[in-house]
């Protein structure tokens, strides 16, 4: 794929999005949808055609990606805000699907729970709170007419051209199979075994299960895992093994692959072992956001002079039955 083809596809996609943004007539919207979908499908086909013949075709990624892009395009162009928010749910669910395909199970489900379950619901609440309940016209004028669509499309799609250029074309694009790009599988696996090494309870359970499966007689009562320099698991590039002392007899156990920590454990380990300060800062950010939201959204109450005195801890000046009676009844 040459750069000019990519740029032409970006321009066609921009024109398509421009036509979808004008919801005056159904026909222009259909033409815009066809142009945009054609542009993105063309680039995807070009990417897939540039692969080696025996490379696996990422069909599910393509499907989820097209769904996400369609949801995103509809979200930024839909004249009704509530529908736009619901199209964002489509985007969230499709990206969660892509996360699943990329072995990020924990993030996929937390994305659905946090985004689709919490953040989107908050958006919908505020949208419905702020919508003019008395007007039956449906779509407000400011939701129907885009602001500076041509300039915005130029900015957005120049950015897209540069980004996709970098991803797809520069030095053949992002190629994990290029020399130097491929991570060492043994190093990655060793890191995972080290994570298991840092989870002593789970390591104990794994070893106990292995010993149980190994021994013919009753369950092995006592064992100690021998640690050299604080590390129990030794990984030689193929096998990970631990030295276990059972009843004064030293044994070498090879850990099965199924004992590798799961995705959620890896993420949690990385979170607390590599980024502990960032984790604390994230907690502080959330707390401050909560305070900020409370302060911002609180209704401002105008206090009278006397109520200010009371709030300041002074005795009110108008201390008679009349004001007490008025306060009690209101």
């Amino acid at each position: 794929m040459t750069p000019s083809i990519l740029y032409i596809a970006c321009v066609v996609g921009a024109i398509g999005l421009f036509l979808i943004m004008r919801p005056h007539r159904q026909s222009t919207r259909i033409v815009g949808t066809i142009l945009g979908a054609g542009a993105i499908a063309f680039i995807m086909v070009k990417v897939l055609a540039g692969l080696a013949a025996d490379a696996p075709v990422p069909i599910l990624e393509v499907i989820f990606g097209l769904a996400a892009i369609a949801g995103a395009a509809r979200m930024v162009t839909h004249p009704r805000p509530v529908f736009a928010a619901i199209y964002f749910v489509v985007v969230v669910v499709s990206s969660a699907g892509m996360f699943l395909l990329m072995d990020a199970e924990f993030m996929a489900f937390s994305l659905i729970i946090v985004y689709a379950g919490a953040i989107l619901i908050t958006y919908l609440f505020v949208l419905m709170l702020a919508q003019d309940a008395t007007s039956t016209a449906g779509e407000a004028l400011y939701d129907r007419i885009p602001r500076e669509p041509v300039a915005a499309l130029v900015v957005g799609f120049v950015l897209l051209a540069i980004l996709s250029d970098a991803f797809l074309l520069v030095d053949g694009g992002v190629r994990p199979d290029a020399p130097g790009m491929t991570p060492s599988l043994a190093a990655a696996e060793e890191h995972r075994w080290m994570v298991l090494d840092g989870l002593p309870l789970q390591l104990n359970d794994t070893v106990a299960g292995l010993l149980d499966a190994d021994s013919t007689d009753a369950a092995v009562a006592e064992f100690t895992i021998e640690r050299i320099d604080g590390r129990a698991i030794r990984f030689d590039g193929i096998n990970a093994s631990v030295d276990v002392k059972v009843a004064d007899e030293s044994r070498n156990l090879v850990l099965p692959v199924s004992a590798l920590p799961t995705n959620a454990q890896l993420v949690g380990w990385s979170l607390v072992a590599t980024f502990p300060v960032s984790l604390e800062v994230a907690g502080v950010i959330l707390l401050m956001a909560m305070f900020g939201a409370v302060v911002l959204a609180r209704r401002q109450i105008d206090l009278g002079e006397d109520e200010l005195r009371v709030a300041a801890g002074m005795t009110p000046l108008l201390e008679d039955e009349e004001s007490d009676f008025a306060g009690g009844s209101s």
Partner: protein, 122 residues
Amino acid sequence: MNDVAISLTQAGEASTMVPIATGTIQIVLLVSAVMFAIGMVGFLTRRNMILMFLCTELMFQASAIAMIAFGRMHLNPEGQVFVIFILTVAAAEAALALGLVVLLYRRKPTLDAEAWSELKEC
């Protein structure tokens, strides 16, 4: 014992220990770039304040996809940790932005961002 373990390693190879295919990562990065561009266009063209913030969420989402993809490519869970932080920032932003929108809506009963264009000072 060792032979058994080796065959286990080969047969039950965890899917995370396989390098990602070139086509997969290119498609995923392309999708993320397109989503980011669309989110940016949406942020610039929508006039509804709430939807402008929703478009920033779309951009967050796109960068999260890119991070997960690169983390998968390098077989490194730190890409997913960054997505957790993105989620944090998105939640904080949603809380603050929506509080702000509610505040502004009480002053002027419209969601049009142009209603506040006097803040531009020009």
